[in-house]
Symmetry: C2
Subunit: 319 residues, 2 copies
């Protein structure tokens, strides 16, 4: 469910007056997405996505996100291009929320990621990293390693209600991961949330990378670790090294990894696993029973974390 805010006809008509994108033809809520309200918008000029930013996004971050998207789109990365209003603004108000119009991207996201998706994904991720390199503004990663301890502190007390012993196990894992965390790897702007539902494919090629609202400035290789977690585990939590190898090779065909990036893959992957584990755990504990949002099981990332904790080297990821 990704329509949290009702947009009235009058408000929409008034909002569209701010833009030079023709007259309204169709307007439907989009079911996908969790954080914001998204609508598909058709005008006499073409197709667009209208996003209303809901409370989880800090308005102060929006210019950075939209600037990054504009920068990447200008470098031919297939990401949504924010449409500027007649006055040049790419953010405006609608129904009491900050809103943006972006271009529509064709394609569908893979419900069942296959090996064939992983090489194009790796290539696209590396292209994203290279294309973003000269986008000057930075954004600290609130959900990066500095954020994990404070986030854990907010849900540690309830961790054992999800699984007996989980609190102590997470505490120990966090200690180990943070102690081993590399701080001298190549850095830049990362997507930080490139899950399958944020990647559109068309005829076997990537046609869209969307949802840049967790993007931040952090380790490139950490972004790869997020993807390894998101794309390379099967439903039974077994790790598919063929997918992982394809993803890493695709990435390296565009941006070869430094020795230190390859060597630290196991701890980077543990960090990525614990990041999603912690936000899921937090949401699990804090989502009211009657809420419209489906809670995602934090233990799916506990299983991933355990895999990465026993990995010894890049070889365990197919390199």
């Amino acid at each position: 469910m990704a329509v949290y805010t009702e947009v009235t006809d009058d408000a929409l008509a008034e909002f569209l007056e701010l833009y030079e994108i023709g007259r309204l033809v169709a307007f439907r809520g989009i079911a996908e997405g969790v954080e914001n309200s998204n609508f598909s918008l058709r005008t006499t000029d073409g197709d667009f996505i209208l996003t209303l930013y809901e409370k989880r996004v800090d308005p102060a971050d929006l210019p950075w996100f939209l600037g990054l998207m504009e920068h990447l789109a200008a470098k031919s990365l297939p990401c949504p291009l924010p449409v500027r209003a007649r006055d040049g603004a790419n953010l405006n108000k609608l129904a009491g929320k900050i809103a943006a119009i972006t271009t529509f991207l064709p394609g569908i996201w893979p419900r069942r990621p296959a090996v064939a998706h992983c090489a194009p994904l790796g290539e696209a991720l590396a292209r994203l990293h290279l294309a973003g390199a000269d986008y000057a503004p930075t954004r600290a990663n609130a959900l990066g390693p500095e954020g994990w301890r404070p986030l854990f502190a907010r849900c540690a007390g309830s961790a054992d209600t999800v699984q007996a012993g989980l609190g102590a196990a997470l505490d120990a894992s966090l200690d180990a991961i943070l102690a081993a965390w590399p701080d001298n790897l190549p850095r830049g702007h990362i997507h930080a949330d490139l899950f399958p539902d944020n990647v559109f494919f068309l005829d076997g090629k990537i046609s869209g990378l969307i949802d840049f609202y967790f993007a931040a400035t952090d380790l490139y290789a950490y972004d790869i670790a997020v993807c390894l977690n998101a794309w390379c585990f099967e439903n039974d939590f077994s790790f598919n090294i063929t997918k992982s190898r394809a993803l890493l090779r695709g990435y390296q065909s565009v941006r070869p990894l430094a020795e230190a990036e390859r060597a630290t893959l196991p701890v980077l992957c543990q960090g990525a696993a614990i990041r999603f584990l912690l936000t899921r755990l937090y949401d699990w504990i804090n989502t009211p029973d009657g809420a419209l949002v489906t809670r995602k099981d934090p233990l799916a990332y506990w299983r991933r974390l355990r895999f990465h904790a026993q990995a010894r080297s890049e070889g365990d990821y197919g390199l």
Copy 2:
């Protein structure tokens, strides 16, 4: 939330092979709708809606619904046209559900119905009634007057948990409505659920009538009564007679009402109010707390029912 069933890429690709509608370009879940899973589907041939029928729709009824839509579309009513597969079938299986592809209709549904919407709505409803007259198959209205007592019996015991005294009040209302129910009015195929979210407008004109999955063979004037309930009350439950007059005049500009239809508007409107009250009451009591569907307040229809119960004649509706 209107995506209950996940459709995998492979299953979708295989399904689309059954049709001659070009290659897949985009596929997104649609947030609107409650009963079924709906997706917007773009192919190289154009835009379509893909519907997966969920458990509330009886598969045995689907050929009747789709046949009616095909019949109405052939008479230029702006309703979705079911697309036939290469073998001529308009229903096929996808992701374990029965599924249909229909044409895409432009426009947006009015979030705040205004007087200006009501005359076109009335006209369109009358056109729907006339266009359907020579569609031979019939479908009994399971949610028509014969269905109200059995439905009430399934939730009467819990009615007082919604509002003290509601059970006895509904019992008495049902007796009065059923005793006064007219049985000699003009009959034919009715939409039976023409709420604002099922009516698209474009540039002030109706561009789409959708969601025929409550359609049935019943009194034409009862369909008008559903619309009067759905379109003519303000948020404070006051009845807007200007809207009602516009709706009825619009209807009569296409299909003049018989004297008996006009005279029985108050009881028909009570019937329509109690029909939605009962299904909402049933859902209210039977929807689990953690469900993804927003429960609609049954008391909104109790307020409407009280208005109609004090109406004396067609004059109370602006005629």
